[in-house]
Amino acid sequence: MLTRRDTIAIGLGASAVALLPVGAYATTTEEAIAAYTGGAEMAEGGVTITAPEIAENGNTVPISVEAPGATEIVLIATGNPTPNVGRFTFGPGSGAPMIATRIRLGRTQDVMAIAKMADGSFASTAVEVKVTIGGCGG
């Protein structure tokens, strides 16, 4: 049973959702990239991704990224329902602009790394990872 109060609460919730600015959540790879770089040009190279060519299990794909001179690295899984994977910001105590982690890949796709350099420019690279069993549940 919905009480009158519940109905009002649901209504308020719905309008709060409706008020969210369009693009608050990047839904496509292009949007995810644009949201990060602001549309700036990205240099090719200067970023190295190490990932398996074939991942048996998309639930946990080891990946490492190195980008000499970078202050921040963003990882994007171009074929995932939500492309953003993570943003890694290197502080003054960082020994090297590198990160290794494990990610979920829903299907075979390009994994992209964008590095923000100390001078504010961007560099990117992408590698294809073939996924045997997808890792996005279902």
Binding site: T82, G86, G93, G95, M98, I99, T101, R102, I103, R104
Partner: protein
């Protein structure tokens, strides 16, 4: 998620000023919000959304995690150790909980 046990691996020794490899793992489902239960209802998202590492108060790395980070998030990175001191690792859960771990490190 009450039983969260962070695991940290540091090298056995290093000289002052070295860059050392730090490996961290924390047990967490990283529920993506994409999955459905047997009744077809979406299982709500609950992930670690932020991880930070500091050494003696200096930020080493600050990570914004998305649901595409695997369960039991693993992070490997390099940290400068200009002197002996303490690492502070912090994981922020979607549910508001914060998990921390500290690890002393001696330079030679």
């Amino acid at each position: 998620m009450t039983d969260v046990r962070p695991r940290i691996r540091l090298p056995r020794s290093a000289s002052a000023g070295d860059s050392i490899v730090v490996k961290t793992l924390v047990n967490h489902d990283m529920e993506s919000g994409q999955r459905r239960n047997s009744a077809g209802e979406t299982i709500p998202r609950q992930i670690i959304n932020r991880f930070t590492c500091e050494f003696n108060g200096t930020m080493v790395i600050d990570v914004a995690l998305e649901p595409a980070i695997s369960a039991n998030p693993y992070m490997e990175f390099e940290a400068l150790v200009p002197e002996s001191g303490e690492f502070l690792f912090t994981w922020y859960d979607d549910n508001g909980e914060v998990y921390t771990a500290t690890e002393a490190f001696e330079v030679s």
